[in-house]
């Protein structure tokens, strides 16, 4: 076993949960980790990660520089929640892995890891409707495979570690270009310690018919997951990427801080779908942005359920003429949860269009915040933005806030903004109960109705999953 410090070299992770399976992802099996960077963050942590991954010098330097940026940037609590101050960076484990190379078949995946993904249904989904799957377990992908027919078209789908190693030129050309290290404190943190995540390249004109999927699983306590995803869709190509995430419910905080960069070259289309269902001790602080060249289209479909605090504002930089950007987001904040989500649309070329539709649901003392940024500079013409944000409050103590920031200069562009806050009224619940639905069923139906127009845009398998997650969340909301 290789290890950085004695204190951080625990061979196994204890299962802190006595009775498992309250929700689908809330379970953990003991796993023996071969690589462990220990607890806390310093240059030594970064050197350990770089050494273990056998990285080139430039990436090691990139990480070191990012660490300095991270350390120099204050927490953004002047606008964000003070709950961020409760993250104890010294108690987090930054790198845990059982191996350095993902397996290409499930049979090769170590038994203790494989059973986790089997329980989450990943191999089954892969057989049913996916073009490729990457399954990340803590810091590294345990499994990564792409269907032969897709690989033959020249599509690259590997994890970021392999991407760096096997496709360095392509990787380096776009890496950190959409989201620079210093974009925010957490993009800097990710840049310092990133591991895992997907690297995808789709050659010109190739349309990947089935989705590629990644599944991010946190297994260990006090752990930080920092995957880094880079997707490049070359001219006229199309790809859909889906990610799912779960973690067991530990008593201590877990950190998930990803950076996702998308590049859609001329006329390309990228659709990025997230259905996250984090346990409610996870700080989920993610930076996601796409760069859309001329006539390209980037669409984020983002569904946030669970976590203690999620801060995520997927964005699109509309760099080329007639580029299109879209963010469709659903957030559900239950007791003890804060979903601080939104969208950024940066128009940087003529005739670019963007669409933001956000729906949030606050249950109990849950809190949903929408932050939007739309920027259209004066020199542009023919740009359009549509922003809609709707909030649904379930209980009288639920909370929602909306902070839309729309800057449109000049008189040759158009924007449209609508916002609404609604409540599930007692009358509505009584009406549904009078038809024989229990109070919980009535709530679920009301919530599913609220997001129905958005949920229909999800692939079938995911909208079924979404409905099931909402039913589970709403079960405990009445009483």
């Amino acid at each position: 076993m290789k290890s950085l410090t004695d204190s951080g070299s625990a061979a196994t992770v204890e299962n802190p949960i006595a009775g498992i399976d309250q929700t689908k992802g809330d379970f953990t099996y003991d796993v023996a980790y071969e690589f462990d960077a220990g607890t806390g963050l310093s240059e030594r942590t970064i050197d350990y990660i770089s050494s273990v991954k056998k990285e080139a010098d430039w990436i090691r330097a990139f990480r070191r520089q990012a660490l300095q940026v991270f350390q120099s940037k204050p927490m953004p609590t002047h606008w964000a929640t003070r709950d961020l101050e409760n993250i104890d960076f010294d108690r987090i484990r930054y790198y845990l892995a059982s191996g350095q190379k993902p397996k290409r078949t499930w049979d090769e995946v170590p038994e203790d890891i494989k059973r986790t993904f089997e329980r989450l249904g990943i191999p089954e989904q892969e057989r049913k409707f996916l073009a490729g799957v990457e399954a990340q377990f803590d810091s590294e992908a345990a499994y990564s495979n792409i269907k032969e027919i897709v690989a033959k078209q020249g599509v690259i789908f590997v994890n970021s570690t392999e991407g760096l190693r096997e496709h360095p030129d392509l990787f380096r050309r776009w890496f950190g270009k959409v989201i620079p290290t210093g974009d925010n404190k957490f993009s800097a943190l990710n840049s310092a310690v990133f591991s895992g995540g997907s690297f995808i390249y789709v050659p010109p004109g190739v349309k990947v018919a089935q989705p590629l999927q990644a599944y991010f699983r946190i297994n260990a306590e006090n752990f930080g997951q920092f995957e880094r995803t880079l997707i490049i869709a070359d001219e006229g190509s199309e790809v859909t990427y889906m990610e799912g995430c779960t973690a067991p419910k530990f008593s201590t905080a877990t950190l998930h801080s990803a950076v996702v960069e998308l590049v859609a070259l001329k006329g390309a289309k990228i659709q990025y779908i997230t259905v996250q269902n984090w346990a409610n001790n996870v700080f989920n602080l993610v930076t996601k942005r796409g760069l859309a060249h001329a006539e390209a289209e980037i669409k984020w479909i983002d569904c946030n359920i669970g976590s203690r605090l999620t801060m995520k504002y997927p964005g699109v930089v509309l760099k080329g003429r007639k580029a299109r950007g879209e963010v469709i987001s659903i957030a559900l904040a239950n007791d003890g949860q804060h979903q601080d989500t939104g969208a950024k649309m940066i128009h940087a070329a003529d005739e670019t269009t963007s669409n933001v539709v956000s729906k949030s649901i606050s249950v109990g003392q849950g809190r949903a915040t929408y932050r939007g940024q739309v920027h259209i500079p004066k020199r542009l013409r023919g740009c359009r933005n549509n922003t809609e944000c709707d909030a649904l409050l379930i209980n009288t103590n639920s909370r929602t806030d909306t902070y839309p920031a729309i800057t449109v200069r000049g008189d040759r562009n158009s924007i449209q903004h609508e916002a609404s806050v609604s409540k599930v009224s007692e009358d509505m619940i009584f009406y549904m109960q009078q038809r024989g639905l229990s109070e919980g069923q009535a709530m679920s139906l009301a919530v599913n109705g609220f997001i129905n127009d958005l949920a229909r845009q999800f692939p079938m398998e995911y909208s079924v999953e979404l409905k099931r997650l909402i039913d589970l969340e709403m079960e405990g909301s009445v009483g």
Partner: protein
């Protein structure tokens, strides 16, 4: 054979008594009409029977087939066979009538049993044909943007699908023009039969020209003060409620 028995019922909102010592029995196959001036407790009666949480029953009982429903939640009563056609039905945005009814039918199945979707739609379309409702109606979200007439048709369709033993219809005629009134009445008449008891609450006689009741009751000040057959409704129409009030005032206290 089913029965809805309301026995010496007393109901309050907060400290204010609304229903005072009301008794009434509806058997399946019968249509009863309750008429009365505004503010006399008619709609309260409908909601109490259905189990609305805002009202407190301070005395008496409501029994369905001999069993008290007062301890049951609204949804249990509904599944036991009680239906309330609302005066002001709620909108459920984003939920189609077809999906809503499907959930309601599913809720009546034993635990673990999954609804047979094909059979469900077959039955739904048969009921829609019976009530002369167009197919596309059930793809619309429940009551969202509906006219008064559409809302009431939606109530009648739900009643047809859920096949209650007892239906309480609260001011079903309110807000309807004469054409809508006829359509809704035709629907109720189509559902009338030996398996269904109906308690119709209305302010106006005109509904009773379309749905002819077997019994008519006059409600005033929280109780039933007069009962008779359909001719009583006609008397009320020609003489007004003041006649009843005067008759009551003349009674010894």
């Amino acid at each position: 054979m089913s029965s809805l028995v309301i026995h010496d019922l007393h109901v309050s909102i907060g400290d204010r008594p609304i229903i005072k010592n009301l008794s009434l029995t509806v058997n399946s196959g019968e249509v009863h009409a309750i008429m009365g001036p505004n503010g006399t407790g008619k709609s309260t009666l409908a909601k109490v029977i259905a189990g609305h949480p805002d009202y407190t029953v301070t005395g008496g009982d409501v029994l369905l087939d001999g069993r008290s429903v007062l301890e049951q939640e609204a949804d249990e009563r509904a599944r036991a066979g009680l239906f309330l056609a609302f005066q002001y039905p709620s909108e459920i945005p984003g939920v189609s009538i077809a999906n809503f009814l499907r959930a309601a039918v599913q809720a009546r199945l034993p635990e673990g049993e999954e609804i047979d979707a094909t059979a469900y739609y077959k039955r739904l379309y048969a009921k829609m044909d019976l009530l002369k409702i167009e197919r596309k109606f059930t793809s619309r979200a429940v009551n969202e943007g509906f006219s008064g007439g559409e809302k009431k048709r939606c109530e009648i369709l739900q009643m047809a699908m859920l096949e209650p033993k007892m239906a309480v219809m609260d001011e079903t005629d309110s807000g309807l023009d004469i054409d809508a009134l006829r359509i809704v009445s035709d629907g109720v008449n189509a559902l009338r039969g030996p398996g269904l008891g109906v308690l119709m609450i209305t302010h106006y006689q005109r509904l009773l020209n379309h749905i002819v009741p077997d019994f008519v009751h006059v409600m005033y000040d929280g109780r039933i003060v007069k009962s008779g057959d359909k001719s009583l409704a006609l008397d009320l129409e020609s003489r007004g409620y003041d006649w009843v009030k005067q008759e009551l005032a003349a009674l010894p206290a």
